[in-house]
């Protein structure tokens, strides 16, 4: 299962529902006349191949293919939201249950404005707030490719949300608050690499869907773009140029290798990022990955006012003892790890993240790192849930977040207890 657009509060959503009607008239509509001209007229081989690539960039298959043996793009994968499940629709060319009967304009309207063929509003589990920035030619190419995949007859009832969240009209209000239609704007002060990277990151790659902090209604806090966000029981880390919590200390090559293989000498992708690497970035050419790295590194870091805990702090002392006993065999006493196998903890952005969500999860539940053709090992962290209690997990995480020059807020036993409880019920 996937989970997107976290953070909405139930009370606020009900409030939004009631004002939806008032905003109905202002929600964006498509200029149908102009779009009608752009019907698929050039389904050339090159366009289909380009579309195949862009579908990979957009990672469409990740949500639109049921992981339980579903046909590619046949839909049915449950997308977890705070309010219930949304099932990703069938986007194969089947005319009855897929999108075979859609025009290109209708396809583009869904991807870029969040409006389905029949006029109903999509939930932003579909990342149209990002896809709206994609070039129309790219959207058309994706359509051209999807028209070539095997049609699958699979009726998916997307909306599984309970009342009142099943009222799609609520999305009109949400869109009014958080959705800004419009294409990507080049920054002429930056070079071509930067602009290509910014385009990919902001549009089809939809990195912000996980990595940008969200408001209580689940909309992007654009002023804090890419500074990290807890989602799906993981913390999608800061991917700005921040020197401590972001990827400022990684070279462009380090980032490229990470996106290509799921591993570099500092880190290993696991959880949803491992899936992204497997399905998407490992299949992208170096030039595009390099461009994305250039752009991400250029996003400025943030104020870093956290003071490290003193080594004499009792929690640090307890944490160190646990670390030396249970962790050091692989991650080494100095936190250096083993490149490609056991991630570095020293000076690691993920270890010093604002929230310790991923760290707690990985210690309690274990995690398998990404396995790719270039880095097939896919080493895994074992679960320590049975061995370490909440206070011990908190101590060891507090230690690694403040040892070897690291600086990050302490982790409390109650946070660990809450993660432990969540993992008991977490479907994935």
């Amino acid at each position: 299962m996937r989970k997107l657009f976290g953070g909405l509060s139930i009370v606020l959503l009900i409030g939004a529902t009631t004002i939806a009607g008032a905003l109905y008239a202002t929600q964006p509509t498509m200029p149908h006349g102009a779009m009608a001209q752009m019907h698929v007229s050039e389904q050339s081989f090159s366009q289909v191949e380009r579309g195949r690539y862009l579908t990979t960039v957009g990672d469409c298959a990740a949500c639109h293919t049921d992981t339980q043996g579903g046909a590619p793009f046949g839909g049915g994968r449950a997308i977890e939201t705070p309010f219930g499940l949304v099932l990703a629709p069938n986007i194969t060319p089947d005319r009855e249950t897929g999108i075979g009967g859609w025009s290109d304009a209708e396809f583009a309207n869904a991807l870029q404005h969040g409006v389905s063929k029949d006029g109903h509003m999509l939930y932003p589990a579909m990342p149209y707030v990002y896809y709206t920035k994609a070039h129309r030619s790219d959207i058309n190419a994706i359509r051209a490719y999807l028209s070539t995949v095997t049609p699958v007859h699979n009726k998916v009832v997307a909306n599984q949300l309970p009342f009142p969240f099943n009222i799609r009209l609520a999305m009109r209000a949400w869109n009014a608050l958080y959705f800004r239609a419009g294409g990507f704007q080049q920054d002429t002060a930056q070079n071509a690499d930067w602009n290509r990277g910014a385009y990919l990151v902001q549009s089809l790659e939809h990195c912000g869907a996980c990595h940008t902090p969200k408001s209580v209604l689940g909309g992007d806090k654009t002023s804090e773009a890419f500074q990290g966000y807890a989602i799906q029981g993981w913390f999608a880390p800061n991917i700005t140029g921040d020197m401590r919590r972001g990827i400022g200390t990684w070279s462009v090559d380090d980032i490229v290798v990470y996106l290509q293989t799921g591993h570099n000498k500092q880190a290993a992708a696991s959880g949803p990022m491992a899936e992204e690497v497997d399905q998407s970035s490992s299949r992208m050419p170096v030039d595009d990955l390099r461009a994305m790295a250039v752009y991400l590194k250029s996003i400025p870091g943030q104020d870093d006012s956290v003071k490290p805990l003193d080594a004499s702090d009792p929690m640090m002392q307890a944490g160190r003892a646990i670390y030396d006993d249970s962790c050091a065999a692989c991650h080494k006493t100095n936190g250096a790890g083993i490149a490609g196998l056991f991630p570095t903890l020293r000076a690691a952005p993920a270890v010093q993240s604002r929230e310790a969500t991923s760290l707690m999860r990985v210690v309690l539940d274990g995690a398998k790192s990404a396995a790719t053709d270039k880095a097939p090992t896919g080493a895994a962290m074992p679960s320590y849930a049975w061995q370490l209690d909440d206070a011990q997990v908190a101590a060891v995480l507090t230690y690694i977040r403040n040892a070897w020059g690291n600086q990050a807020p302490a982790v409390s036993a109650s946070e660990v207890a809450s993660m432990r409880a969540n993992l008991m019920t977490q479907p994935n």
Partner: protein, 591 residues
């Protein structure tokens, strides 16, 4: 019985040889399925560092091995006895599950000596035919060291083997084993660091005129990325290797070297928890058409395939051949038949050295499964057997693999076996004793009356006859073990031991006491279809689309651990299949 879709290749057993063959043939574009009796196993989920070092669970309770209730063997020393079922594993540990014995071995990465492959010819030429005992049935292998050297190399580089070369292309190298066959290049990683006991052993051995060298190790001295791109971490010297899975990705196993790549191959499928019960033959009996397996719910399935590769543990290979009617079961009286003959094990001796606790602290818990310093002066035919009246030999070394609390509690003779005095003796001696483990690792040559056949009485849970082991130690092996253990004890004494307790192997063969899991033979390779089950490419003489991999092909067992050789033979066979058999399926050797 339900029939599954046809495959190009079905592999029985997904251990070392199964993984090597599956990867190579899937890589060649064939549609490959592996069927494994035991469960899927992976580092972080099955033997993570958080509980991998659990001696009770793995060593005492045999977590990773086959359960005798699932299947066992009957055993007797001699043909005149009635064999009885083995109800708890003792002399060897039958592997089970993905990775097979490669999960729980020590990772001692030896090559056999060049003379071992032509041992019958060599010994006969040097000592005369009459020098060999009359009932000894040793044979040349049908393949030479030089032929399989590239495949030893391939396996050693797959595993990242840590060692010091002794002979590179004929040039003797300092610090390595001067008796080893020429290798084409150095080991991929330097030898592991040695603990105090091994260092002291090497010094004593040098003083006595021997040439000690570090045991080649599949436990990594440093991080390593193998030619398939799979990464291994450095060994942490925890001393939980044999009987255990490695939690640190440091020990060579199918899981840490091949499986991550194999499972990414789209034309490879694995079925775990499925036990192959027989190989299917067509009406002529000359062609395998697939296999039958049973799943955990007891349902039978047929898996048709063009080729069958038998890649299970030695003794299960032999059993499956017998139960499937491939070849003729060996009859020791008539000296006819091939399946079950030349069954062998190992002849391990030990000597324990007790040192002055005030002067020696060995910290024996700093260990790995393949750590240690060895000498090879008394292996193969590296020494003159003429005056000694026996053939064979073994490497010997200070190769203490662990200081684990339950197993490794050596106490001097005469100590009570329990109670306060025993505890006191354990406490006094734990730090100051060297305990050799498989320190005198002797060969076990083959004999006419040491063999495998089907038990006439006992059956397994599926109603199939159990395999019957008839095995005893012969005078040749007992003399060899006594001689080598004496030589070994001299070195331990020279290390400064106050007391050395020698324990050469003595008869009768004891199926209850652990030696090694190196069962060999029973489906041996050779040049004559009358005395071997498979040809030099491990292809069945009787059923040419069946290949039988593993140590079951060894005509006798030599003085080294077998895994390097059985893996090299797998690569050798794989190459023959890829370059010869697939182009022209049929017998690769016409005898």
């Amino acid at each position: 019985m339900r029939k599954l879709p046809h495959k190009d290749v079905v592999i029985i057993g997904l251990g070392w040889t199964g993984s090597i063959m599956a990867h190579g043939l899937a890589d060649a574009g064939l549609d490959v399925i592996a069927i494994e009796r035991g469960p899927w196993r992976d580092t972080a989920t099955d033997y993570p560092p958080s509980y991998a070092p659990d001696e009770y669970r793995y060593r005492i309770q045999h977590e990773l091995f086959l359960r005798p209730a699932q299947t066992t063997f009957t055993f007797r020393n001699t043909m005149k006895q009635d064999a009885l079922p083995i109800r708890s594993w003792g002399a060897f540990m039958p592997p089970n599950g993905v990775g097979g014995g490669g999960v729980h071995w020590n990772a001692e990465m030896w090559r056999f000596a060049p003379t071992d492959f032509v041992i019958k010819t060599h010994l006969t030429e040097r000592y005369g035919e009459k020098f060999l005992p009359e009932d000894m049935t040793i044979q040349d292998w049908g393949v030479t060291y030089d032929e399989i050297e590239p495949y030893y190399d391939k396996f050693e580089y797959l595993c990242g083997t840590s060692g010091t070369a002794g002979n590179i292309k004929g040039q003797i190298m300092p610090g390595g084993n001067p008796f080893e066959g020429p290798r084409s290049r150095a080991y991929p990683t330097p030898a592991q660091k040695q603990p105090y006991n091994a260092t002291l052993f090497a010094k004593a051995a040098t003083d006595l005129g021997y040439k000690p060298f570090p045991q080649p190790s599949g436990n990594m001295s440093q991080a390593y990325t193998n030619p398939l791109g799979v990464e291994m971490g450095p060994c942490t010297f925890c001393g939980y290797c044999e009987w255990f899975g490695c939690g640190n990705y440091s020990k060579s196993s199918p899981q840490t070297t091949i499986l991550p790549v194999l499972v990414r191959q789209q034309n490879f499928t694995a079925r775990d928890n499925c036990e192959v019960t027989r190989i299917l033959l067509d009406a002529s009996g000359k062609r395998a058409t697939g296999v039958v397996f049973v799943d955990t719910s007891g349902e039978e399935w047929e898996q048709p395939a063009d080729m069958v590769l038998l890649c299970a543990y030695t003794i299960f290979n032999v059993q499956l051949l017998m139960l499937s009617g491939v070849g003729k079961i060996y009859d020791p009286v008539a000296d006819e038949g091939t399946i079950g003959r030349n069954f062998t094990h190992q002849t391990v001796g030990t000597a324990t050295g007790f040192f002055d606790p005030k002067k020696f602290i060995f910290n024996p818990f700093i260990a790995s499964g393949a750590i240690g310093m060895c000498i090879d002066e008394f292996n193969s035919d590296n020494f003159d057997h003429g005056p000694l009246g026996f053939v064979g030999g073994g490497y010997m070394g200070q190769v203490q693999t662990n200081g684990r609390p339950i197993e490794t509690t050596p106490v001097p003779p005469g100590t009570p076996t329990w109670g306060a005095k025993w505890k006191q003796a354990v406490k006094e001696n734990y730090q100051s004793t060297v305990y050799s483990g498989s320190g005198v690792h002797g060969s076990f040559y083959s004999y006419r009356d040491v063999y495998l056949d089907l038990d006439p009485v006992y059956k397994d849970r599926l109603g199939r006859p159990l395999l019957r082991i008839t095995m005893d130690l012969h005078d040749n092996e007992l003399k060899m073990s006594a001689y080598l253990t004496d030589k070994y004890a001299e070195i331990i004494k020279a290390m400064g031991a106050q007391m050395v307790v020698k324990k050469p192997r003595t008869g009768p063969y004891d199926v209850a006491e652990y030696q090694t899991t190196h069962l060999c033979g029973g489906a041996i390779m050779g040049t004559d279809p009358k005395t071997s089950a498979v040809n030099r490419y491990l292809q069945s003489w009787d059923v040419p689309n069946l290949f039988v991999l593993g140590a079951s092909s060894f005509p006798q067992n030599h003085g080294y651990n077998p895994t390097g050789t059985l893996a090299a033979l797998a690569y050798w066979s794989l190459e023959a299949i890829k370059t010869q058999y697939l182009k022209n399926p049929g017998p690769l050797v016409h005898a």
